[in-house]
């Protein structure tokens, strides 16, 4: 408060500014590092698989596809590439959705999976499959995804209403989310019961997350959704950070909190529902990704969002590799692997919360 700056003060300021700069650079480097790890993991994902192709064969199929025999081509381009890409994209979508959700619901345990959004999307998809809803000129694939989206969005609205209703705390919101999970799972089970064998096969797929139905159309669509939604997520970074300082403070800055929340919920539903619609229920990525990212770069959302994105993609890609290696010669549904990683993290988070 002295007008005259002392040497000591100037030195303190210089040190603080340097530390701050270094912190910013460190965060950027961490994000870049994880992105590089994603790429490496992606490459590794492509060269591993039950059909034992050599790395040379894979590379040949990738870069001179005419020079290799047809079977290798098919495996690399129709199976491994789509799986590996889909892993990165769903990891991205679920993790960003989880990060947004944790901030707007002010709850580190929030994620599309733990709060029932994935279950709702699964139910929506199952309903569309079983009822065989059709619209003229719209492919069945799209209708299933659309219905998954509608149910995901509905469940997110329900969560928000609950969170606002008498200011539900961290614990009760998670309990409400678990209630949603059980409810939608029960409804899906009901659908299992009444579905025709063909529909049942499809429905079961949704309930067990797997990359096995990845194809280029789905990859393109999910990539488009991510490319459209994530820039808006990034643009909301400052406001999201301000929201972490408390709703009153954010509102005091002139942010229209309700509208802002609603737009975020829309993004969450789009990201979560599209990925669930294509790969089924893959749990915990939306929880683990943001959590690791928070430990690495903190909660300045300018860094936290991109960090969550790359972390989610990396974890998912590693899970995809693990799903091929855990049981030799078999491809486990990746949802099983993410659950094995995710459950301990979830329990750890709950224990830490209770302290």
């Amino acid at each position: 408060m002295n007008v005259q700056k002392t040497d000591q003060q100037q030195a303190a300021r210089r040190i603080a500014e340097q530390t701050y700069d270094r912190l910013q650079k460190k965060r950027l480097l961490i994000i870049i590092g994880i992105a590089v790890a994603c790429f490496i993991s992606f490459c590794f994902d492509i060269v591993t698989g039950p059909s034992s192709l050599s790395i040379q064969q894979v590379l040949a199929a990738l870069f001179h596809s005419s020079s290799t025999d047809n079977a290798t081509d098919v495996i690399v381009w129709k199976v491994r590439m789509p799986y590996a890409l889909m892993a990165l994209l769903t990891g991205t979508a679920l993790s960003v959705a989880g990060a947004e959700m944790q901030t707007i619901l002010n709850n580190p345990l929030a994620s599309p999976f733990t709060l029932g959004v994935s279950a709702a999307a699964t139910f929506g998809a199952a309903l569309a499959i079983v009822l065989g809803i059709t619209l003229p000129g719209v492919s069945a694939n799209w209708i299933v995804s659309l219905n998954a989206f509608l149910f995901a969005f509905g469940s997110v609205l329900l969560l928000q209403a609950f969170a606002r209703w008498k200011n539900a705390g961290v614990g009760s919101l998670v309990l409400f989310g678990i209630a949603l999970v059980f409810t939608f799972n029960a409804l899906v089970a009901l659908i299992h019961y009444i579905a025709t064998p063909e529909a049942l096969q499809q429905v079961v797929f949704w309930s067990m997350g797997s990359l096995a139905r990845a194809n280029w159309d789905k990859i393109r669509l999910l990539a488009i959704v991510i490319a459209v939604v994530v820039p808006f997520t990034m643009a909301s970074s400052w406001k999201m950070t301000a929201l972490r300082l408390g709703e009153e403070r954010a509102a005091g800055l002139g942010i229209q909190v309700n509208r802002f929340r609603f737009m975020s919920l829309l993004r969450i539903s789009l990201l979560a529902a599209t990925s669930v619609a294509f790969v089924g229920t893959i749990g915990f990525i939306g929880l683990v990704g943001p959590h690791i990212a928070r430990m690495l770069v903190g909660e300045d959302h300018r860094y936290w969002f991109p960090a969550s994105l790359v972390t989610g993609a990396l974890v998912m890609s590693l899970a995809s590799i693990a799903s091929k290696l855990l049981v030799a010669g078999t491809l486990l549904p990746v949802g099983i692997v993410t659950a094995l990683i995710g459950v301990p993290v979830f329990v750890y988070l709950i224990l830490r919360k209770d302290r």
Binding site: A12, Y20, A242, R244, L245, G246, R249, L253
Partner: protein, 261 residues
């Protein structure tokens, strides 16, 4: 909006869903630019509620006049341009460094006035830390601060926007003696720049020492609004707080509350 206008509140009623009328038909004298007004009163008297309703954070009826204009129903954005409110509590589980929290407090606002370029905003954040003498906290994570440090940071978040009207909800309740003095001195200087300051203080001696005016709130109404010496009288303390106390002048001429058993 013209600056340096007096503010006064007329017939203000505010509350919460299911709990209307926490503040009832509240009317104040004018709050003058350049002055500190202390807001005191028992727990649950409605002090925080009053500040929140002025800041536009909870619905209210009545008039909050700035000059000739009733700002009560101004859009939030227009209010945010004038008013900054420091909440009584800061959420404490955020892994954000102090500088980042300050930068976000500026950059998050949709107001043109303060959506400055990032380096400029960062400079302002460091300037403020220097001014408040908390440079050593700059890169600490907010969730690792002590209660008092957190309060200082929360205050910094509120004042970095240089508001015309500053509403502070118990900014000194967790501070040690030295920081109480630094903060109050800073607030006094800030007021002298023509700003209006309404500050909730539980410590009546601090109100007597620092405030130009005082409002004693009782059951959602203004019990007294006058010079601090005229508000915190033996009778008022007895009536509002049910405490037997004397008000005595110290050797240096300041008034002080002495509680009797």
């Amino acid at each position: 909006m013209k600056e340096n206008h007096e503010v006064y509140i007329k017939q203000l009623t505010a509350g919460y869903p299911g709990k209307p009328g926490i503040i009832r038909q509240l009317t104040t004298r004018s709050l003058q630019p350049g002055t500190i007004t202390a807001l005191a009163g028992p727990n649950a008297a409605g002090k925080s509620t009053l500040l929140k309703s002025i800041a536009g954070l909870i619905p209210a009826r009545g008039e909050i006049m700035i000059g000739q204009q009733n700002i009560l129903h101004f859009p939030m954005l227009k209010k945010a341009k004038l008013i900054s409110y420091m909440p009584q509590y800061l959420p404490f589980d955020i892994s954000l460094s102090v500088v980042e929290s300050l930068v976000a407090s500026l950059k998050a606002s949709p107001l043109d006035q303060i959506s400055a370029k990032l380096p400029e905003v960062e400079k302002r954040a460091f300037d403020l830390l220097e001014e408040m003498d908390i440079m050593h906290l700059a890169t600490e994570a907010v969730n690792r601060l002590s209660g008092g440090q957190r309060q200082l940071v929360s205050l910094a978040q509120a004042i970095i926007r240089v508001p015309e009207i500053l509403l502070l909800d118990e900014p000194t309740s967790a501070l040690d003696l030295q920081h109480q003095v630094t903060v109050m001195r800073w607030i006094k200087n800030y007021a002298r720049r023509g700003k209006i300051i309404l500050i909730v203080l539980h410590d009546i001696n601090m109100a007597l020492r620092w405030a130009d005016e005082a409002i004693l709130l009782h059951n959602g109404r203004v019990y007294l609004h006058d010079k601090p010496g005229a508000v915190f009288t033996k009778e008022a303390l007895k009536e509002v707080y049910h405490v037997n106390a004397d008000i005595e002048a110290t050797a240096s001429g300041h008034l002080q509350v002495i509680v009797k058993d």
